[in-house]
């Protein structure tokens, strides 16, 4: 484990304060009062971040609860302010987008693990890991009568109940001597974050306080109790006083805190919700006109032995959606169910016009399914049939959009793994949407749940990169390979290596493959475009483009590297023409000889 000092240089700047939110009211179920202050203190910049989020949507409130977060960017890290800010923003958006079927623990762990990956990978560009995107994080989720706590680093969460202040977290510090301590765990520090998870019961009248070290190292606990107790009805004022006090006590660091007062709790415990949702039944086969949870089935779009997709209309708003339901065939297959739910989360997390968006569940559900935005369009497989041997420009525009979608996925450490003509929709205006996240891999996910049983081949073999067959590491380069094959297919109606590709089993088989230049099938394709395609679908990942952007650039304007290809012999460029010409010449010679014989 990497450890490093956390107390940075002292600063003499006056305190600056940023009050953000103060109080929330909610009818009926759970009522919480909150206050928060984050101040740079004596430092030049504020690396702390806090937030309290209470969803307006009642369904989300019931299933996901209320979140309060505090994060402290590690001062020795260059991007610490960015890290803490990203952490809380991303946590809120990803957590509330997580499937309602997941338990709080499962959702929190998944979100934090993927988030840690993202920070860690962004930080990798810095030479020392601790200089990158690193921050501490403590967060508390109030859901029905339970508080779920996720914690990593030295920020703290306290609970004040009947005059007693209990710390609910343990600092992840290594004490070297009286003056120096090292942070032993933090977000973005390691590829695998060890995050503490615990739960505690919540009672009406409980006060919770989240603090950064700038506060809890300067203000003693008795003072905290007094200030909290005396200001329990104005927590914003309480937070301000706590921060001021820390500043007066010569705190050298950023100073932040969030205070929460539990006013009322729901009458009925909803703890069993998690349990119940885990055993949701599969929906029956749906008939046109039937209504499921307020969504009316208009027609069945697609049904396979793995899932069904229907077009549905929201009875309340009239909005159209695509509803995907799991196939009865997998009713007791844990791995399948897990993957199905995962799919909906992937779709909900990615916001990109070129990736279909999965709609967060907005009302109580009676069975397992998910809704995605409705896209009026056709799959590229049909587009290819209708536009055989299309203009290169048209395919180029498609390529640019797919790359945008893929990039949005890769940025969140998600590999699509099944890019193929059937999984990409195109609408009347030529807009592209990537669909189907059934084969996606989310980095870090396997660490939490253990590997999903994968004795099956994911992806469609014609378009899937050789590394999947060879069981070598897959990455963005693998999606690039599939994209290359897809574009090749759109341009020519063929695949770059022909039918032999699908039969390859080992490296030797793949090594024997020969790339078939695309202009053999579609003479309009410039040699340099073919050069770009060939490079995208190289068998060895290291021979392909490093970045999708480079591929797009080479598709758009001639790369001089591929210019030499103009000089390829006719026999390679157009074997048919070559042999026709050659045969023609021979025929002519034979004719002449025959004539000579006849006349001689």
């Amino acid at each position: 484990m990497i450890a490093f000092p956390i107390h940075g240089k002292p600063s003499c700047h006056p305190a600056s304060r940023t009050p953000i939110i103060s109080m929330f009211h909610l009818d009926g179920k759970i009522e919480i009062m909150a206050g928060q202050v984050s101040s740079a203190g004596r430092k030049a910049s504020n690396d702390d971040a806090t937030t309290v989020y209470i969803p307006d949507d009642e369904h989300l409130l019931t299933h996901k609860g209320i979140v309060a977060i505090i994060a402290d960017g590690v001062s020795s890290a260059d991007a610490s302010a960015e890290a803490s800010d990203l952490c809380i923003r991303r946590f809120v958006s990803d957590y509330y987008a997580s499937p309602d079927i997941w338990t709080t623990k499962h959702s929190g762990q998944n979100v934090l693990t993927t988030l840690n990956r993202e920070l860690y990978n962004r930080g990798k560009s810095y030479r020392d890991a601790e200089k990158g995107f690193v921050c501490t994080l403590s967060l508390i989720i109030f859901k029905s009568k339970t508080a779920h706590i996720f914690h990593i680093g030295d920020t703290r969460i306290y609970r004040l109940r009947s005059g007693k202040l209990d710390p609910l977290t343990e600092d992840h510090n290594l004490q070297i001597n009286a003056n120096t301590s090292y942070l032993s765990r933090a977000m973005g520090l390691d590829s695998q974050a060890r995050i503490d998870y615990s739960t505690t019961d919540v009672q009406e009248g409980d006060l919770f306080l989240l603090t950064t070290d700038g506060l809890h190292e300067s203000v003693d606990e008795r003072r905290i109790i007094t200030l909290l107790e005396s200001n329990r009805n104005d927590l914003q004022k309480c937070c301000t006083m706590l921060v001021d006090e820390a500043f007066v006590m010569n705190s050298a660091d950023n100073i932040s805190c969030v205070a929460l007062n539990i006013i009322t709790l729901p009458k009925n415990s909803r703890d069993e919700i998690d349990h119940r949702l885990a055993q949701l039944p599969f929906p029956p086969p749906l008939e046109n006109g039937q209504i499921l949870d307020g969504y009316k089935v208009l027609r069945e779009i697609h049904a396979s032995n793995r899932s069904q997709i229907y077009q549905v209309k929201d009875e309340k708003t009239g909005a159209l959606y695509a509803m995907k339901t799991p196939s009865k065939n997998f009713e007791d297959d844990d791995g399948y169910i897990e993957r199905f739910i995962m799919e909906s989360w992937i779709g909900a997390r990615i916001h990109c016009p070129n990736v279909t968006h999965v709609i967060e569940q907005q009302r109580p559900r009676s069975c397992l399914y998910y809704l995605a935005e409705w896209v009026e369009g056709m799959p590229l497989s049909r587009w290819e049939e209708e536009n055989h041997l299309p203009q290169v420009q048209a395919v180029r525009e498609i390529a640019q959009q797919i790359v945008k979608g893929l990039r949005a996925m890769h940025r969140k450490e998600i590999l699509h793994q099944d890019i193929k003509p059937d999984n990409i929709l195109i609408d009347r205006h030529g807009r592209i949407k990537i669909i189907d996240f059934g084969s996606c891999r989310v980095a870090g996910f396997e660490e939490i749940c253990g590997p999903i049983e994968r004795d099956l081949i994911l992806g469609t073999i014609d378009y899937s990169a050789p590394e999947y067959q060879l069981r070598l590491p897959a990455g963005s380069w693998s999606d690039l390979f599939s994209l290359g094959c897809l574009l090749y297919f759109l341009l020519t109606g063929e695949l770059p290596y022909g039918p032999k590709f699908a039969k390859c089993k080992n490296l030797a088989d793949f090594a024997k493959l020969k790339y078939r230049p695309s202009y053999h099938f579609n003479p309009d394709i410039p040699v340099w475009v073919d050069g770009a395609l060939e490079k995208a679908v190289k068998v060895k990942p290291e021979d392909r483009y490093e970045a999708h952007s480079k591929f797009i650039a080479d598709l758009s304007k001639p790369n001089p590297d591929f210019a030499d290809k103009n000089r390829v012999p006719l026999i390679e460029r157009n074997p048919l023409l070559f042999w026709k010409t050659l045969s023609g010449i021979f025929a002519a010679i034979i004719a002449i000889l025959l004539l000579m014989l006849a006349s001689g």
Partner: protein, 490 residues
């Protein structure tokens, strides 16, 4: 339960085309597999076979099918249904040529034994149809596949005797049987070019490997091991029969060798089962999400033993029965005997349908009671009966038998969905065990006792079906506005 708007005439739909391709392939395997039954009289005459030898041929025909099902299952996993089905058809056509040109009883026996392999074709198409149809339609599609395909034995019984006459002469039966081989060969090639393992763009998922069924508790584990013994017993009985002095097809020493091999195989299988179920013996390990009782599988096993097992046995001997009892010509006997398998077209699918509608346990019990009665009646048939009444009796009995098969397979997927393939495999194997046992019984007793034995064993099975539990699930209710409500069935 669910409506399935499956239209078999919609030939533009590639899934429907695949269904037709598959059932015809399965149909042909049945034609080839039972091509000997209606011609057995002619074969007996031209070789001068004893009755014992004839009955031995009938048993040999179904013997290899028991282990072949496992082998075929592995091959399908590895190569996909398309290659295996066309391969099976093509190979079986050559075995068929071998049988039709045999010169000695030993050769006949060998090729009949090898043709037992063709009987395992069922498994392949079930997988193929499963790949092509969504859950909503797959039950119906598999019903059509199984029912229409099984009809192949009826088609053989109806056409082959006439075909043999048409070719004429002493060797007519040889040409008739060789013809089925030619058709299978040509269709095997056709199938290879037309069939696809999956719909376009979909992936063929290799199913999870398993050496045995996973069970939920220790008691079930021992129960399961116990239930494997009858399969080895059937093979042992067959070996013993072949060693017996009347037949002496194989030397006694080889018979002992085979017996030892069966024991070794049984031990190996038991070890595999133990490996799959290691979680039952490890205190630290948590059991999976299994909650089925093995008795469900065992009861379905026995139900299929008396339904499909008796069907295979009866289809093999019925032409002979009509010839012997009523002194009919082979053509007529074949035609009348085909009545039994003829019912497949409707009986099997409707068994599944009734079972879905009226409750599965009740349906199964009623059908087994019916077939047991049917067999007792067949046991009374003698030369004094008018022929038409005998035919009506066979057809009525066969309705219950095949509807019973449909009812068994309507329950198989509901035992434990994720292991449907394996459970279906075991149930299917029991069908073949039934055929071997019943045909062996036939080699000792007269026709009437044979039917009464089947009837009595059906009564025993009826008692076991009393203990089957109606599978639970969710039932959907649709209110007047079209809202779906799910109600848990307990």
């Amino acid at each position: 339960m669910a409506t399935s708007n499956l239209n078999p005439l919609d030939l533009k739909n590639p899934a429907i085309r695949t269904l037709h391709l598959s059932w015809i392939a399965f149909f042909l395997t049945f034609v080839v597999w039972f091509s000997h039954a209606p011609l057995i009289g002619a074969i007996q005459a031209s070789f001068g076979l004893t009755d014992q030898q004839v009955k031995a041929l009938l048993i040999l025909n179904v013997a290899l099918t028991i282990p072949a099902r496992i082998a075929i299952g592995i091959l399908v996993d590895k190569f996909g249904p398309r290659h295996v089905f066309s391969g099976l058809l093509i190979i079986s056509s050559f075995i068929c040529f071998g049988f039709s040109s045999a010169q000695t009883f030993e050769q006949l026996a060998l090729f009949r034994f090898l043709l037992g392999f063709v009987g395992a074709g069922f498994v392949i198409g079930i997988r193929l149809v499963g790949e092509w149809f969504p859950a909503r339609q797959v039950g119906m599609a598999e019903g059509i596949y199984g029912g229409w395909g099984n009809f192949g034995s009826a088609a053989a019984a109806m056409t082959l005797p006439s075909l043999a006459l048409l070719y004429g002469g002493e060797n007519g039966w040889r040409y008739a049987i060789a013809t089925t081989g030619v058709v299978a060969l040509l269709y095997g090639i056709f199938f290879y070019f037309r069939a696809r393992n999956t719909p376009k763009g979909a992936t063929y998922f290799k199913p999870k490997k398993a050496g045995g069924l996973e069970v939920s508790c220790k008691k079930d584990y021992y129960f399961y091991i116990l239930m494997n013994i009858p399969m080895y017993l059937a093979l042992t009985v067959l070996t013993w029969k072949l060693c017996s002095p009347q037949l002496a097809l194989i030397p006694v020493s080889v018979g002992y060798g085979l017996g030892i091999a069966f024991i070794a195989l049984f031990i190996y299988q038991t070890l595999q089962i133990k490996k799959v179920n290691s979680h039952l013996f490890d205190e630290n390990e948590q059991a999976g999400m299994l909650n089925y009782r093995f008795k469900q599988v065992a009861i379905l096993d026995w139900a299929y033993f008396v339904t499909f097992g008796s069907e295979l046995a009866v289809v093999s001997m019925l032409p002979l029965f009509f010839m012997d009892v009523f002194g009919l010509s082979p053509v007529k006997a074949g035609m009348l005997a085909s009545g039994f398998a003829f019912m497949n077209l409707v009986a099997r699918p409707s068994g599944g349908w009734i079972s879905d509608k009226l409750g599965r346990r009740k349906t199964l019990m009623v059908l087994i009671l019916g077939l047991s009665g049917g067999y007792f009646i067949l046991g009374q048939v003698d030369a004094a009966w008018p022929i038409w009444l005998a035919v009506v009796a066979t057809m009525t009995c066969s309705f219950f038998v095949q509807a019973g098969e449909g009812a068994v397979f309507a329950m198989v997927p509901l035992v434990q969905r994720r292991m449907t393939g394996q459970i279906a495999g075991m149930v299917g194997a029991y069908g073949n065990v039934g055929a071997v046992i019943f045909l062996t019984v036939l080699s000792f007793v007269d026709y009437s006792t044979f039917f009464i034995v089947i009837g009595a064993s059906s009564l025993l099975t009826l008692i076991t079906t009393w203990f089957i539990t109606e599978p639970a699930g969710h039932v959907q209710e649709v209110d007047e506005n079209g809202n779906i409500q799910l109600i848990e069935v307990t």
